[in-house]
């Protein structure tokens, strides 16, 4: 979905490059501009075809009584674990597109700026359930969050 938006941008760049190719006086650099046009047209193809399914296959999450665990990425795979005793805030966000598809992202922040964990694009109802659960558990853990 985000890749679709990305594709629109790539397309815009490609059109810009075509315009440039037509406007700029021709010379030895003309073929470079056309090469750029082709690359810009090819660039979004992975994002529109197989990348989302790979991302979806890799993405997983788990909330237990003790910690949140999220795995995401496609070329680079990232695993994140944050114990609930160290959670400071739990947010949920929903952009316009996400609202259309009934999705919601849960964001768990800790006292560290490096310690922000996102569970991206959950089902709306499920996301709210997860938020409620996280809030209930973190409120019940009395430790200092630093």
């Amino acid at each position: 979905m985000t890749s679709a938006i990305g594709a629109v941008f790539w397309l815009a760049f490609a059109i810009g490059a075509v315009v440039a190719a037509l406007l700029v006086p021709s010379g030895w650099w003309t073929w470079l501009i056309w090469l750029a046009v082709v690359l810009l047209l090819l660039a979004p193809i992975p994002g529109l075809t197989f990348v989302p399914s790979v991302r979806f296959r890799i993405h997983r999450w788990e909330v237990t009584e003790i910690a949140v665990h999220v795995r995401h990425g496609w070329l680079t795979v990232v695993d994140e674990i944050v114990p609930l005793s160290r959670v400071q805030t739990v947010d949920s966000t929903q952009g316009p597109l996400m609202r259309h598809f009934g999705l919601r992202t849960v964001k768990v922040s800790t006292a560290s700026s490096a310690g922000i964990v996102e569970i991206a694009c959950l089902d709306d109802a499920l996301a709210l359930e997860v938020v409620a659960k996280l809030v209930a558990i973190t409120a019940a853990t009395p430790e200092d969050a630093t």
Binding site: A67, H69, T76, V77, V78, P83, T110, S112, T146
Partner: protein, 520 residues
Amino acid sequence: MPPEDDWQRLAGWTAVVSPISTLRQAIVPVVVGAFGAGQANPLIGLLVAVGIAMVAAVIGLIPWLTTRYRVTPTHLEVRKGLLNRTTLTARLDRVRSVDLNSTLVHRALGVTKVSVGTGVDEGQINLDSLTKDAAARLRRELLHATPSPSATDPVEASGDNASTVAAPARDVAPGPITDDGEVIARLDWSWIKYAPLNLKNLAIAIGGLAAFFGAFSELIPWERTIGIRVDDGEINGRPIESFLDMLLFAIPIALVVAVLVWAAGSCVGYVVRWWDLQVVREQGREGTTLRRSFGLTSTRATTVEEAKVRGATSTVGPLIGLAGGADLNLLTTGLDDNFPAVLPTAPESVVSTVGKDILGEDAFSAPLTGHGPLPRRRYWFRALIGTAIGTSVTLVLTVLIGVYGDLWLWWLPLAVLVVGLFFELLGAELAYRHLGHALTERYLVVRAGSFTTVRTALQTEGVIGWRVKQSFFDRRLGLAQVTAMTAAGREHVEVPDVPLETAVALATAATPRTVSEFVE
């Protein structure tokens, strides 16, 4: 002395100090404005200058007239502002650091600026300025006062109406505060040898000089001051070629002079900055505090609750390392600067002794586990790729210059190849040799870096999460980039290029409760 719960004013000298600091920020526009007006008519220029000085004096009076502070048994309260009256209230048990800073002006007048850190990110409370005694008393009240009965009560219950509670007598010794406490470290003048080796300061100095000449080069009358006039292809009327032979001598001499000036200047700067450095451990309200004080012209004294220390790093820079020195920084939470330097660059033995003292165990000397042969392969491979790219780029440039400029610099790519290969491979090997981690009783210890080595010791208590990152190439090699999230210091500690199993084992061992259930 007034009773403890009375509102107190700033020192009278504030009326002098604050206009000076206000003026210092506005000095350039003021001078330019007065100068501009003065060129048209000297009288107007004078009037403008006097007017600005009077405005500054009035502005300077406002803080003194409007600021009041007091320490109740549970809170520090500060009221300030002329039109917008604000009252700042900080719970004493949330006060985490107290800084006393005085510039030369402050010192001449016997006053000092007090900054109170409360753990809120923008929450520094500044009192500029107090008399020395008042500042020392305030510092002691904030961090070291023996808690009176009402202050030891659970404060959570009624924190808000505490200001209405009458303050009971408190056993704070009036008068000058003596420096009691255990001295952890003191400046040793032999450390001054590290001052000229500090490349970071050298870069700052060169940057400053460059900016200065960049800004004022138009204004400097080169011809009149050093008698050099550069015209088209000629210097002082003689062709440039006749100076090339002279340059052969002039450049080495200039370099030697520059090195000598830098050596002398950096040593003087070092003396002025670190004069009378002391790191002292004192008994505070809740647990011990660390106090570091130093400075010749302007003095700084920083006090930090030791409970906020989550670890420390020891950094060995390239030249400093060859001279056997290292830097010691603390990793703290909730302070204004969470990566405070404890000492100037000092010998490694001192850094490890002081580090051991503050960390409570000898984490810096813990034997490290290496990361196996894979990182070495990766670093050497990267070094070779880097050199290859650098050499081919130079080769292409050389050919281009040769074809278009008819100037064959055949030795240039060769030089890049030899020098680049040497430094890249040296860096790769060092990076591999330095790589390692360990888990002591309370600390996660990591060492990484090639020419600059950083050894970090972070309390496992201070780890608030883990991130394990594997790029495509990482997965092929079975390596992982591990980040320990923390609220202390730079907020993350990296363990680069660890074999995945080792990474999982490390995270499990460091924070068993969190990680163990996710290990497949």
